[in-house]
C-alpha cells in the first residue's frame, strides 16, 4: 500500500460535497434507532429488525456504494486518476490503497453507526450489538471490494450498484427464496447468527446459509472482485476523444 495514494484518496473522498451524505445517512439510522427504542420499549427483537432491515439491508450497501464510487469512480470520471496511474507504481498497490481507505470509511460511517443503532434500539448485554458489528464488518469488506471493482469496470457503477443493493438484496430476495441465499447480506449475517447461538431465532437474527458456507462465499466473492479490479485497473484506458 502507498501512503500518498491513501492520503489523496481520502482527501478526494471527504473533500467532495457528497461526503455530506456519508454523515446524513448514518444520522438517519441513529434517529430511527431512538424512535425504535421509544416505540418498542428497547426490545432486542425490534432492534434486530432495524439492524437486519434498514441497517444491513439498505444503509450498508448504499454507504459502501457511495464510498466505493468516491474512492475511484469519481477520479476515473473526471480523468484525474491519470496522475496516480502515470507513476511507476504497481496498479495492485493503487487498488489496495484505495480499498483500505474505502473500508476504513465504511467502518467509520456505516459499521460503527450500525452497532450504535442496535445498542440504542435495544440489546441484552451487548450481544446483539457485537453480532451486528461482526456481520456488518464482513459485509462491508465484500461490498467495498465489489463496488470498487464495479467502479473500474463500468462508468454506470452507481446505477448497477443501486440495482443490486435495492432490487436484488431487498425486493427479489423477499420473493424468490433461491435468490436470498445468493446475497452478501445473508452470508455476512451467518456470522452473527453463529455468535448469538440459541438467542438468534428468538431475536429473528437469521441467515440463509451456515457460517462456514457464508465465510467461504464472502472470501471467494471478495477475492474475485479484487482480482478482477487489479486486472481492469492495469488495462484501464484513458483517452479523451479529440
Amino acid at each position: 500500500m502507498n501512503v500518498t495514494v491513501m492520503r489523496l484518496t481520502a482527501r478526494g473522498l471527504l473533500g467532495r460535497r457528497r461526503a455530506l451524505l456519508l454523515v446524513i445517512l448514518p444520522a438517519l439510522l441513529l434517529v430511527l434507532a431512538a424512535l425504535t427504542r421509544w416505540a418498542s420499549d428497547a426490545s432486542p427483537s425490534a432492534s434486530s429488525l432495524l439492524g437486519s432491515g434498514f441497517a444491513m439491508g439498505t444503509l450498508l450497501p448504499l454507504m459502501c456504494l457511495l464510498v466505493a464510487t468516491g474512492v475511484i469512480s469519481a477520479e476515473i470520471d473526471d480523468g484525474s486518476i491519470v496522475y496516480m496511474l502515470a507513476k511507476p507504481l504497481k496498479r495492485r498497490v493503487i487498488l489496495f490503497s484505495k480499498l483500505a481507505v474505502g473500508l476504513a470509511a465504511v467502518i467509520v460511517f456505516a459499521v460503527l453507526p450500525t452497532m450504535a443503532a442496535v445498542a440504542i434500539a435495544g440489546d441484552e448485554g451487548g450481544q446483539l450489538t457485537l453480532a451486528y458489528g461482526a456481520s456488518a464488518f464482513f459485509a462491508a469488506i465484500a461490498y467495498t471490494a465489489i463496488f470498487v471493482t464495479l467502479g473500474i469496470v463500468s462508468r454506470n457503477a452507481v446505477v448497477f450498484g443501486l440495482l443490486y443493493a435495492l432490487l436484488w438484496e431487498n425486493v427479489l430476495g423477499g420473493y424468490v427464496p433461491g435468490v436470498r441465499a445468493v446475497s452478501v447480506r445473508q452470508w455476512a449475517m451467518s456470522v452473527g447468527e453463529q455468535m448469538l447461538g440459541s438467542q438468534a431465532a428468538e431475536w429473528s437474527f437469521t441467515a440463509e446459509v451456515g457460517m462456514a458456507t457464508g465465510l467461504i462465499l464472502l472470501a471467494l466473492t471478495t477475492a474475485g472482485a479484487v482480482y478482477l479490479g487489479v486486472r481492469k485497473l492495469s488495462t484501464l484506458t484513458l483517452s479523451s476523444v479529440d
Binding site: 501512503v3 507504481l89 483517452s239
Partner: protein
C-alpha cells in the same frame, strides 16, 4: 536522451478508425503534433503515454513497449488535456504528492524545483479549485516535471492560456528541449507549432499526413493550388485574359462568378490587377476560397 517509436500504429473504436497506420519517430527536441480537431492527436498521445493500447502496431520508448509497463513512467512526464486534478488540495501539496508517488529520494526538493520552474511559488499554497486556467496548466506542468523526465508529452498545452503565459510555456519547452529532452505537444494552430517546434508531425483524419521541419511543412502548405472567387464588371473577359496570360491553371465562369485555381500563388497575385487594368475590367471582389486550416490539411492528405 530518449526516443519514442511508433510503428504501424492504428487504433479503432468499434468501426470508427481514430488513428490509421501511423509510423513516426519522436526524438530529443521539440516536436509539434499538428492537426485539426478530431484528427486523432489525443488518441496518439494516449497511446504514447501508455493509456491506450494500439489496436495494431507498436509504441515503444527506447525499445520497450509503453502499454502495461508502469516503469516507463520514470522517464515520461504527462500533461493531460483534462483540467481535473485533485482540486481539494493546494498546488504545492499536489506537486509534492506526485513527487512522492514517483518515489523520489527528496520529494520536497523535487517539488520545489518543479514549482519554481513553472513560476508558481507565489500561489502554491492556494487550493487548486481556486486557480485560473493558466495556473492549473502550470501546476499540471509541474507535476509532469517533478521527476525530471526524459520525455514530456503535452496534450493541447496552450489551450486557454493568455499571450504572456503562452510565451512563458514556449520558453520553458524550448529550455527543456535544449537540455536534451524529448518534448512532444499537440496543437491545432500552425503558428503555435512553427514558433517552437523543430519537427512537425501533421495528422489529419487519423493519418500521418506530413513530417519534417516547419520550413518544409510551410512550403507544402503554401505551394498547394490556391483558389479564388472573383466578382468583376466582366468575368468572361477577365477569365480569357487570365488563361491567356498563363498565371492560373484553370478558370470557371459557370457558377455566376469567376473561380480561379492558381498553383503559383505569387505570380497570380501579381498578375491579376495588371490583367484587370489592361482589359479595363473593374475588380469588385477577390476572395480566397478556402484558406481554412482544415482545407490546408485536407490538401496535405490528398497529396
Amino acid at each position: 536522451m530518449s526516443t519514442l517509436q511508433l510503428t504501424g500504429v492504428s487504433r479503432w473504436y468499434g468501426d470508427v478508425v481514430a488513428v490509421n497506420d501511423v509510423t513516426m519517430t519522436v526524438g530529443p527536441g521539440v516536436t509539434g503534433l499538428l492537426g485539426p480537431n478530431g484528427a486523432g492527436k489525443s488518441t496518439l498521445i494516449s497511446m504514447m503515454g501508455g493509456f491506450l493500447p494500439p489496436s495494431a502496431g507498436t509504441v515503444t520508448l527506447d525499445g520497450a513497449p509503453v502499454w502495461r509497463h508502469t516503469e516507463a513512467y520514470r522517464s515520461i512526464g504527462l500533461v493531460p488535456e483534462t483540467e481535473a486534478m485533485y482540486d481539494m488540495v493546494s498546488g504545492w501539496e499536489f506537486v509534492l504528492a506526485n513527487a512522492r508517488l514517483h518515489g523520489l529520494a527528496d520529494p520536497v526538493a523535487a517539488a520545489r524545483a518543479a514549482v519554481e520552474q513553472v513560476d508558481m511559488m507565489d500561489a502554491k499554497d492556494r487550493d487548486i479549485s481556486g486557480y485560473s486556467k493558466g495556473m492549473k496548466q502550470r501546476i499540471k506542468m509541474a507535476t509532469a516535471l517533478v521527476h525530471d523526465p526524459a520525455v514530456l508529452l503535452l496534450d493541447e498545452p496552450f489551450n486557454g492560456m493568455d499571450p504572456r503565459q503562452r510565451l512563458h510555456l514556449m520558453e520553458l519547452l524550448q529550455a527543456l528541449a535544449a537540455q536534451g529532452r524529448t518534448v512532444l505537444f499537440s496543437s491545432h494552430i500552425l503558428e503555435e507549432v512553427e514558433e517552437i517546434a523543430g519537427t512537425i508531425e501533421v495528422v489529419v483524419a487519423g493519418r500521418h499526413a506530413a513530417s519534417g521541419d516547419f520550413r518544409r511543412i510551410r512550403k507544402l502548405m503554401t505551394q498547394r493550388p490556391h483558389q479564388y472567387t472573383i466578382r468583376s464588371s466582366d468575368d468572361r473577359a477577365l477569365a480569357a485574359a487570365i488563361i491567356a496570360d498563363g498565371s492560373a491553371d484553370s478558370v470557371d465562369v459557370s457558377s455566376g462568378s469567376l473561380a480561379v485555381q492558381a498553383s503559383d500563388f505569387g505570380r497570380f497575385v501579381e498578375a491579376l490587377p495588371r490583367l484587370a487594368q489592361d482589359g479595363q475590367v473593374r475588380l469588385l471582389e477577390v476572395t480566397p476560397a478556402d484558406e481554412s486550416l482544415e482545407s490546408v490539411f485536407a490538401y496535405l492528405v490528398a497529396r
